[in-house]
Every structure is written in structure tokens, then in C-alpha cells.
């Protein structure tokens, strides 16, 4: 039985991930920028009695209706960003998309002031949502295998399918994805984006059945990260129907990795045999 580490999916989980991703941004002048926006609320909006930071006891929307449950700021941000994704193909990963998203929730466009101008949180939110979807998918597949309703895939096929499933989530946003990649590589975003990437790769290996407790743990993850990143870049340039060039590239890279690991274990067993031979010779000579 493979036991999953992540807590069960609750509304708070994603916002907790967002909080983790946005923790990196707490040092940024986020408070000051959002302070400015909320100091002069737009005329068509009912005045909000609370400050932008910290949990609010209730949130008054545009129609003067209060949200039913207590909603923390993280949960609110999570909802806005999810709604904003719909507008990304049109507006890119920008504050405009966030503003449009806020509008669909019945909030003021000033809500976009809660976030960075370059769309960092939106992109990180999207990445973490995709990773969560992937985890759920892999867990579901694992359950099917455990119940005997599906065959256990060989490792290369498993890795291929997992990476493909994850990359397919980019397809609706593929036009704007290069922009997102460049934002993810900004120095202040690197801790968050790296952490999301490593946890996704670790997840894939976990469900693939990796149980290594030695340096292999690192080699395997490094190799898979390389495969994922290069395939992602190929996908950006791919114009073939259904991205078939990308999936072929992925298949070849995974096959290369398998061949490399076979060679490595062959080298290792040869090395061990040689060492044993030498030890035997040494003992013989010393006798």
C-alpha cells in the first residue's frame, strides 16, 4: 500500500499551498501596494470596514451580500486566482486577468491590487493546482492497481504517462506559457517554483514505486526533472498535431534514462565483481 503524504483535499489545502507560495512574497511591498488601493475604494463599491491584511470576520461583496462562511484572506485569494485562470488565454498572466476573475466573483477589480503586477501568484497558483490534480490522478490510478482493476505499469510507461498528463494541463494556456516560465525564473520566484517542481517530481517517483534510500533518490529525481524540463521546452516550440512530436521526444528521453540506469547498474556489478576478485587475490597472496 502506498501511503500518500498529502492531507485530504479540502478547500483550505490549496489556499495553504498558496500561502506557502505567497509566504515567499511577504517580504515584498505587497502590504503597501494593497494599502494604497484600499485607501480609496471605487465609488460603486460599498465601503469595507476591514484592513486588507489579516483575517476578516466577513466580506461584503458588491451587492452588499455577506459571504456565508468565514473566509480567510488566503481562501479569498485562492478563489480569485482560480477564477482568473479563465481569462489568461486572452490577457496573459497579468493583473488584467486577475481583475477579470475578480469581476466574475462579484468583487471589485481593485481586488487585483492584492497581487503582484507581474502575475507571479497567478502562475504559482496555477502550477500548484496542476500538481494537486496530478497527485489526485496518480493516487486514483494507484487505487485501481491495488484493487486489481488495472495492470501495474512498467516504470518507463508510468513516468511517460505521468509527465504527459502533467504537461497536457498546459495546453489551454500554451500560448502564454513561455511568459509564465520566464516569470517563474525570476530570482524572487525561484524558491517557490523550485519547491513546486521538486515536490511534483517527488510525487511522481513515489507513485512510480520508488523506495530508494541512498543516493539513487537524488539521481532519479534529477534525471526526471531534466526529462520534464526539456520536454516542457520542446512543447513550447511544438506545432505538430496533438503535440505528437513532444510525446515522441518524451518517450525517447525516458528510454534514454532507462538505458542509462541499466548501464549504471551493470557498471556497478562489474565493479563489485572486480573488487571481490582483488580482495580474493590479496588474501591468497597474504597467505
Amino acid at each position: 500500500v502506498r501511503c500518500q503524504q498529502y492531507p485530504p483535499l479540502r478547500a483550505l489545502q490549496a489556499s495553504a499551498v498558496l500561502r506557502r507560495a505567497s509566504d515567499e512574497h511577504k517580504k515584498e511591498p505587497l502590504t503597501s501596494s494593497s494599502q494604497q488601493h484600499f485607501d480609496s475604494p471605487p465609488a460603486d463599491h460599498q465601503p469595507e470596514p476591514q484592513e486588507p491584511q489579516g483575517p476578516h470576520p466577513s466580506y461584503t461583496g458588491q451587492g452588499g451580500q455577506e459571504s456565508e462562511d468565514y473566509e480567510s484572506e488566503e481562501q479569498l485569494q485562492h478563489r480569485i486566482l482560480t477564477a482568473a485562470l479563465e481569462f489568461v488565454p486572452q490577457h496573459g498572466w497579468t493583473a488584467e486577468a486577475i481583475a477579470e476573475g475578480a469581476k466574475t466573483l462579484g468583487l471589485s477589480v481593485a481586488a487585483a491590487g492584492m497581487f503582484q503586477r507581474d502575475g507571479s501568484e497567478l502562475i504559482l497558483h496555477f502550477v500548484s493546482e496542476c500538481n494537486t490534480k496530478l497527485s489526485k490522478l496518480l493516487e486514483k490510478e494507484q487505487k485501481l492497481v491495488q484493487l486489481g482493476e488495472a495492470e501495474k505499469k512498467p516504470i518507463d510507461e508510468f513516468l511517460r504517462d505521468a509527465v504527459e498528463a502533467r504537461l497536457r494541463m498546459l495546453i489551454p494556456y500554451i500560448e502564454k506559457w513561455p511568459q509564465a516560465l520566464s516569470v517563474l525564473l525570476l530570482p524572487r520566484n525561484i524558491p517557490s517554483s523550485l519547491s513546486l517542481l521538486t515536490s511534483m517530481i517527488d510525487d511522481i517517483w513515489h507513485y512510480a514505486g520508488d523506495q530508494s534510500t541512498d543516493f539513487n533518490w537524488y539521481t532519479r529525481r534529477a534525471v526526471l526533472t531534466g526529462i520534464y524540463n526539456t520536454t516542457e521546452l520542446v512543447m513550447m516550440q511544438d506545432s505538430s498535431p496533438g503535440f505528437e512530436d513532444t510525446w515522441r521526444f518524451l518517450e525517447n528521453r525516458v528510454a534514454d534514462a532507462m538505458a542509462m540506469s541499466n548501464t549504471a547498474s551493470q557498471v556497478q556489478s562489474t565493479g563489485e565483481a572486480v573488487v571481490q576478485g582483488l580482495m580474493g587475490a590479496a588474501v591468497t597472496v597474504s597467505n
Binding site: 500500500v1 501511503c3 503524504q5 485530504p8 513515489h206 534510500t213 543516493f215
Partner: protein, 192 residues
């Protein structure tokens, strides 16, 4: 036969939901590194003193360390903990320390054992304190494991003393140096 194992793993999975992941991560990573290092130290000692009179004693202590390592390998998979990146380094350093101390003679090997086991016992005691402060109920199984291992290491320490470790020339210098090395190893393995 799988049902029992999966029941146990699933009860650990439920336990995982509420655990303090960073703390448990560190504990398991450093303990795994420690047992791995201890294994290599005894391997080094056996390579030199395997056919001497203390050979069987060292072999027996080594076997216990192998069991410890096996247990931590299991825990590492269950809790999905990353192993320390310094493992290859501890591989070599441990063997060199074991073989080096054994080249000083049987007493030297025993002195090394005393030093290392004393460090490890103290380290396990610290972890037990940490876990008890956190939540003794939640970490009951892990506490049991660590307590058992602490007792085993204490026993190895006593065996070392019984075999004239303290009679080694420059015993206190050797012991201090080795314990400093252990402290460094523990510090690094917790973090890297």
C-alpha cells in the same frame, strides 16, 4: 500476508496527517545517516580486526547496526523522507574511521566505538525529549523505535568499555576528536 503490512502502513498514513513534518523529516534523515555511518565504521573495523579475538564482538555489534539501518530504511519510505545528500561521503568517512581506529589496535577500535556510541546515545536522548515535548501519543511508535535503539547503542558503549577502550593511548584526545566529528555529522545530516 500483505494485509497486515498494509494495515500497519495505513495506520501510519493516518498518523502522518497530523505530524510535524519538518521535525520528523530531520529526525529520520539524521538517524538514517547515523546508522548508515555506524554500519560503515564497523565494516572498517571488521576489515582490519575481523580475524582477531574481538572479531566476533564487533561482528555482533555490526549485525545490530544492520538491523537498525533496515528499520530506518523502512521508516524513510513510510514517511517519505529525503536521505541526506552526504551519504556517499559518510560511506567513505565511516569506513576510514573504522579501519583507522582498528589500525591503532583492538583498544583503539573499542575507543572509537565508545566515542561514537556515546554521541549517538546522547543524540537519541535529545530526539526522545523532542518527540515527548511534541506529542508522546502521536509519535508513540517512533518513540518506541528510538528508545530501543538508544538502549542498543548504550549496550555497545558498555561493551567497548569492557574491552579496555580507556586503556588506548591518547584515549581522551581520540575520544574528543571523534565526538566532534560525530556532532558535525549530525548537524550536517539534519540539514543537508
Amino acid at each position: 500476508p500483505g494485509a497486515g503490512a498494509s494495515l500497519r502502513l495505513c495506520s501510519m498514513r493516518v498518523a502522518q496527517e497530523g505530524i510535524n513534518k519538518p521535525v520528523i523529516d530531520r529526525i529520520i534523515r539524521v538517524d538514517h545517516a547515523g546508522e548508515y555511518g555506524a554500519n560503515r565504521i564497523y565494516a572498517g573495523q571488521m576489515a582490519v580486526l575481523g580475524r582477531s579475538s574481538v572479531g566476533p564482538v564487533i561482528q555482533q555489534m555490526w549485525n545490530q547496526e544492520k538491523d537498525h539501518l533496515k528499520k530506518f530504511n523502512e521508516l524513510m519510505v513510510i514517511y517519505r523522507v529525503r536521505p541526506t545528500v552526504l551519504l556517499p561521503f559518510w560511506n567513505i568517512a565511516g569506513f576510514v574511521l573504522g579501519a583507522g581506529s582498528a589500525l591503532l589496535g583492538k583498544k583503539g577500535a573499542m575507543a572509537c566505538t565508545v566515542a561514537v556510541e556515546e554521541s549517538i546515545s546522547e543524540h537519541y536522548n535529545n530526539q526522545i525529549r523532542t518527540l515527548i515535548e511534541e506529542d508522546p501519543e502521536k509519535y508513540k511508535e517512533l518513540l518506541q523505535v528510538i528508545k530501543q535503539f538508544r538502549d542498543d547503542e548504550q549496550e555497545h558503549h558498555d561493551i567497548g568499555l569492557e574491552h579496555d577502550a580507556e586503556a588506548t593511548p591518547a584515549y581522551s584526545v581520540l575520544k574528543t576528536a571523534i565526538q566532534l566529528g560525530c556532532k558535525t555529522a549530525i548537524f550536517l545530516s539534519e540539514r543537508i
